[in-house]
Symmetry: C2
DNA sequence: ATCATTGCAAAAGATTTGCAAGGTC
DNA sequence: GACCTTGCAAATCTTTTGCAATGAT
């Protein structure tokens, strides 16, 4: 749901900041420097991240733009709630990715380099809906992760094992 | 992979205990009362469980058959490693299910009653393999969870909301 | 001015680990 | 007897919470 509004013939998509602003206002919550910093930071590039990676990529304590750990966690929940981010669990930790304005997709997870690769499949959504229907189940979403080894890791492992062993 | 061995025309499947015994021996590990108790207990009925549920269903401290928490966690890892159990994450906790001798399947997860329902789909496995091939990805497995509300919960919620509100 | 938000310190929940005592091969 | 395992206590890791100070509307 890329949240687009039609105004006459003009299509208006809100930026993540604007969309979040709406969310905050509708709940009587306030927009703060920290929240703006985080939205800005998170939507400046598309990737998957966990709380620690996010915090590591933000200004450190003492620097301008610093956001404390509890605030980051609180904000991440809000972003999920606001539909900006989607959350899932991988290897025991919470992983986030863009949801707002980003199409539904699933992942390939490389157990060697731990990277996530995206793929899109309408067929999967169709299959999912049929399975749900067969079970009289009201679907709200799904999560598919294909585990294995990516091409790159498979190749470098075949070629030489040194890189891995040296780490 | 139900691990069946052909001996002439006789098909021999190892019990989970036997299969685990093999695993232990091949690694120079020892079979103990605790490990036997846990395998026995876990494979006496088919269901999904987390560490806490398992511990709660075992004899308490002081009683015969008691297994300490660290030992349970250590054993669960071994069972996963030995191919007896499969592990996945749900709502922040690790969930285990039978793997050995049990066919590949996926789950519907009811967000209301938190129950897991199994379903099997060859089509999904096929789709998964095609996606992986397209990405030159070497698949080792996958995990699909369809989220939503099960029929029962949908019905009881439609009928009356009291049960939920009173909790 | 009111009331949400922040950062700190500490708590909480799940899982893991060091280690001495005990059990298995 | 050698050495793997266990249970205990304590540590770890990730995430959450209480609370006084600060900030947004």
């Amino acid at each position: 749901m890329p949240e687009e509004y039609s105004l006459g013939s003009v299509r208006v998509s809100l930026t993540p900041q604007e969309r979040f602003e709406e969310y905050l206002q509708s709940r009587g919550m306030r927009n703060t420097d920290q929240r703006r910093t985080l939205v800005e930071h998170i939507f400046s590039h598309h990737d998957h991240f966990d709380a620690d990676q996010l915090i590591a990529s933000l200004p450190a304590k003492g620097e301008t733009g610093y956001v404390s750990r509890p605030t980051v966690y609180r904000a991440l929940s809000e972003f999920v709630d606001a539909g900006l981010l989607r959350k899932f669990e991988l290897a025991g930790r919470a992983v986030y990715e863009h949801d707002y304005g980003y199409p539904q997709h699933d992942h390939l997870y490389c157990k060697t380099c731990q990277r996530l690769f995206e793929f899109k499949s309408d067929e999967l959504v169709d299959l999912r809906n049929r399975v749900a229907k067969d079970h009289s189940f009201r679907v709200t979403g799904h999560r598919l992760i294909i585990h294995g080894i990516c091409d790159e890791c498979a190749k470098s492992r075949r070629r030489t094992r040194r890189k891995v062993d040296l780490v």
